[in-house]
Structure formats: C-alpha cells, structure tokens
Amino acid sequence: MSRGLVLSCMAVWVAVNGFAVQRFPPPEFDSGYSIPTVTEPAARGEWLAFLDVAVLVAALGLAAWLSLKKRSRKGIVALMVFSLLYFGFWRRGCICPIGAIGNVTYALFDHAYAIPWFVTAFFFLPIAAAIFFGRSFCAGVCPLGALQDIVLLKPIRIPVWLESSLRLAAWLYLSLAVLYAALGSAFIICRYDPLVAFFRFTASPTMWTVSILTLALALFVGRPYCRFLCPLGIILRQVSRISRQQVTITPDECIHCRLCEDACPFGAIQKPTEEWPTSEHAPGSRRLLLYILLLPVLIAGGAALGYLAHPKLAALDPAVELAGEVRQFQNEQGHRMSDEVQAFQASGISMEHVYREADDKVHQFAIGASLAGGWMGLVAGGSLILNSVFWRRHSYEPHRSGCLACGRCFNACPHHRMQNRIKAEKIMEAGIRGS
C-alpha cells in the first residue's frame, strides 16, 4: 500500500466497529524476533481482602471494648489514628462501609451484580457491632470520623433545634444514595465523598477545595460529616437505639454534678428531665394526635414532590444522559457531536433502543423518587412525633442514637477519674509490693 494513500485518509477516525482489525497481517519475521507478550500487573491480592475484614472485625471489637469496658479515651484516640492510617491512608478509603451502602443496594435490586463477599461484610459488620455495642464503628474505626475527630480544635455548640433540622439532610442523602444505587445510576456517596481526597492525596482542584473546607469546618464543628450528612450514620443511629450495650458517662451512679454537661462536642449528652408540667399534658396530647394525623399528608406530599422531581433526578442516570445527548444532537442543527453521541454511533445500537432504555429509566425514577419522597415525608413526620413525646431521664446520659462513643465525656466524670485513680494506685501498690 502506498504511503500517500494512507496519508490522504489519515485525518479521520473511522467510527465503525470492526473495521479496525487486521488491516495489515502480522508479519512473519526472518530474524528470529519473538513477539513480546503484554504485561499484566496483577490486581490486589485476594488475601488482602481477608486482612481488611479481619482488621475491621478486630478494630470494631477493640472500639467496643475501649468504649464500654476499658473506658479509655486515649485508647480510642490511638485506635482512631490506626484506623485513619489503615483504612484511610493505606487502603485509600475504599472500600468503606459507608460507600458499601451503594453496592449492597445495587446488589439487592440488580441480581446481575454479584457483590464481592467482603463488601457485604464491610456493610454488615458495623451494623452488627452497633446492634450489640452501639456506634463502635463511628467511635474508632471509621477513617472519615477519625480524621474529623482528631482535628477538632474548638467546638462550637450547635443548638439542638438546628442539629435536628440539619439531620434531615443526612436522611435525604441516604434516600438519594439508595435511589441512585437501586436504579444502577450512580454511587453518589462515593462520588461526593468529601474527605477521600486526603486519603488518596490526589484529587481534582474542586474536590480538594471541598475536602479542605470540610476539614476546616471540622475544626470548629464536631464531626460535621458524621452528624449532618453521613448516610451510614443514619442507619447506625437507628440500630444503636436498641443496642444491647450503651456507652455510659459514669461508671457508677450519676451524682448530677453537671461536670459532663458540656463535655460532648457533638451535643449527644442528654440532661436529666423533670416531670412534664401538667399544664402541658393536654396540649401535648393534642399536638401528638395532630402530628399522627398529619403523617399520611406528609407522606403523600413527599411522594408528590418526589414525583415532580423525578425528571431532574433521572438526568444523572447515564442511560438518560445518553438519550438526551443523542436527542439534542438530532434535534438541534449544528449541535456539536459529543463523545457520547460518537460512541453511541460507533456502537451500532439503534436510537430506538437508547430512547426506550432511557424512557424505562425515567419511569423507574418516577416510581423510585415518589417512594423516596414518601419515605422522607415519613421521616419528617416521625421526627416531629418523636419530638412531641416526653421522655423521662433521671441522670446525665449519652443519647442512645447520637452518641459516637468517642469517650470524651469519661474524663469529665469525677466517678470515672476516681476509679481510674484507685486502679492506678492499686497497680502502683502491686508494683511496690512486687519489687
């Protein structure tokens, strides 16, 4: 073939599949040249997955022991540092139980996706730990939590009302994450992870900015991601409501000394409550009744809002996006041929197929978004109801769901200090006697 011929048609990329194969037969060499093979660096070894799960189990157990039995803030900090190094900097943040929400949801809805076993393990182990010991995962195992916890410099108090309202954002984030993962569109938790840039030490300038701002916020607001956005946090909160064991501020009986009142930077210490005034009983019950009656309205309203939002929500789906690109290209004269359209045309898939796929997806989003909206209505109604019910408490205790088991309050309790001193003295005595 003449060179000029090749050159004259060289400027174009032939966008048709199958053309690009064996135009020139591979030569037969006379010089004894042997054709090199393609190098294939292996993927991460199988045993490392076992190691990860083993480390996770050990760390969860250790965190539970440190927060419930040993009651050592120092130990918890050490564990945090370890987790930050191992799950954060060494494993670069993937896979983490928060992101595994996406994989698990996707596996539940799409049977074609065979989820790797250790991802399943990463999702269920923290929950299993929470059902027995409370939020041990948040306490010392989660690298995101650890990073935020360690940098906490001067916490400002977030009023309870603000905290309760902001938490709705986490619920919304969880709902959207489940919606997108269930429909196989995206793992948004992983996509918008605000701290992973630190673990990977490389990210786009935008992600760096988001990460640095989040961490800067964490200097003054205790664990902002954990409290106001973390979707796994929402799950663990609910599970730890019924956990077998709970972190206690005091190892003994509360003496109402109020020393721990401000020890928690996360607003998770609840004060003892007085008897509800009788004057409040009647309006309280009426309010409760009203909220219970309002619940179906909120659910229906949420579902309606979800339905209205579904076309916008669906736009993130790759199939819908492709159909949109193709449609735009087809309808608008002089529209630039995007890479998507080019790839679509090279694939030989019919336009009808693309449109049908997208229409199906949009339809699924209509159902999914309505369900998610209804669910958000239920959540909002539920939190209104829970905040209309009076709970009697006799001592200072950590919030069953809000406590991150970080151990900061231990040292605020005189009982704890006393016991530690006694322990230390006993050890010292034993040492003196032994010598």
């Binding site: 032939v14 199988e46 076993w117 790759p318 492709l322």
Partner: protein, 186 residues
C-alpha cells in the same frame, strides 16, 4: 435489690423483642446477600470494543497520572514502518523526531526489528492514557494499541471516576483474577 416494677419489665420485654427481630432481619438479609456474593473481588477494566479513545481517561482519573495506560497487543500489530499510532498525520519524516510523534509524552518507543518492520513499545511511566495513539492505530492500523486500567496503579475506587465520565460506557467490573481485557485474546 429492689424488685423491678412491672411496667419496666414490660418495656424490657418489648425492647428485647424488637432487638431480636431486628437482629434476625439483619441476619437474614446478610445471609441472603452473602449467599449471592462472589468470592472474588471485582476490579474496573475498559472494554476495548467499546472504547472510543476520547481522552477522558487521562483527565478524569482521581490519580494525577491516570491508572489507565496504553497497552500493546503485539500479536495483533502489523509492525508497520508508518505506524499511524506513532506518527502524526502527514509526518515530515518517519523518524523519532518529536514533531513527528503523535504521543504528547513520547511514551512510545520505536525500535527497528528487521526490514521493513518496527516494534512499538509503550514506556508505561510516561504514558498518560490520553488515547491519541489508540485512535490513530484504530483508525488506520490493526487496532493493536488500546487502553487498559493498570492494576498496579489503580486505587480500586468503589465508583471509578473515569467510568462516570466514559462516553462509551466502556468501563466494567471484571473479576480480579482476570483483570485485563486484552485485545485479540479469546
């Protein structure tokens, strides 16, 4: 020890009941999911048949230097003198001079084998996965150059940032034991 009042016993009973049912539901969920789980890990890989070498791999990877690199399936290569993956369109001369090279980072090494054949080797540390050579080779050559995720570099993000940006949806999850989709291999 004071006897627990009745209403507290009832509350404990209720709590235990809820606890046990949540535990069993979670257990059942986990068990059914484990039953469907695969023993092996999944890793990201590019399906060369779907790749259009758009160049997103070079710019969208979370790594500064993309985990995607060009790979050469030598068995498919025509060992051309005028390699359209190596030379810019209408090169001034078939030499290794920089202005003749298509690769923006001079990551392809051109070595003489025998007349008239030349071997093209990817210098992986220099390759940024832009796919310019892939496009050139695919358009007019045998298509023996193609992009692959290199697993010694890939961080294994749960959601691959390049996959999100891939216009041809060429990224897919493959078993970690066979982590490459090498062209020309059955």
């Amino acid at each position: 020890m004071a006897k627990t009042p009745d209403h507290l016993r009832r509350r404990d009973f209720l709590r235990d009941g809820i606890w046990a049912s949540v535990l069993s539901v979670l257990g059942a969920g986990a068990a059914s999911l484990f039953a469907r789980s695969r023993r092996e890990n999944l890793v990201w890989q590019i399906d060369p048949a779907k790749c259009i070498a758009c160049g997103n791999c070079a710019t969208h990877c979370v790594l500064n230097e993309s985990a995607v690199k060009c790979v050469h399936a030598y068995a498919m290569c025509g060992y051309c003198d005028l390699c359209t993956g190596y030379f810019v369109p209408e090169p001034k001369a078939l030499t290794t001079a920089a202005e003749n090279q298509l690769c923006p980072r001079a990551a392809i090494e051109r070595t003489y084998v025998e007349d008239p054949y030349f071997q093209y080797t990817i210098r992986e540390p220099l390759c940024n996965g832009c796919g310019k050579c892939v496009k050139g080779c695919g358009a007019f050559g045998n298509g023996s150059l193609f992009l692959q995720v290199r697993h010694d570099r890939c961080l294994g993000c749960n959601e691959c940032a390049i996959a999100v940006a891939c216009p041809g949806r060429a990224f897919k999850r493959v078993a970690a034991s066979a982590p490459y989709l090498i062209k020309g291999r059955a």
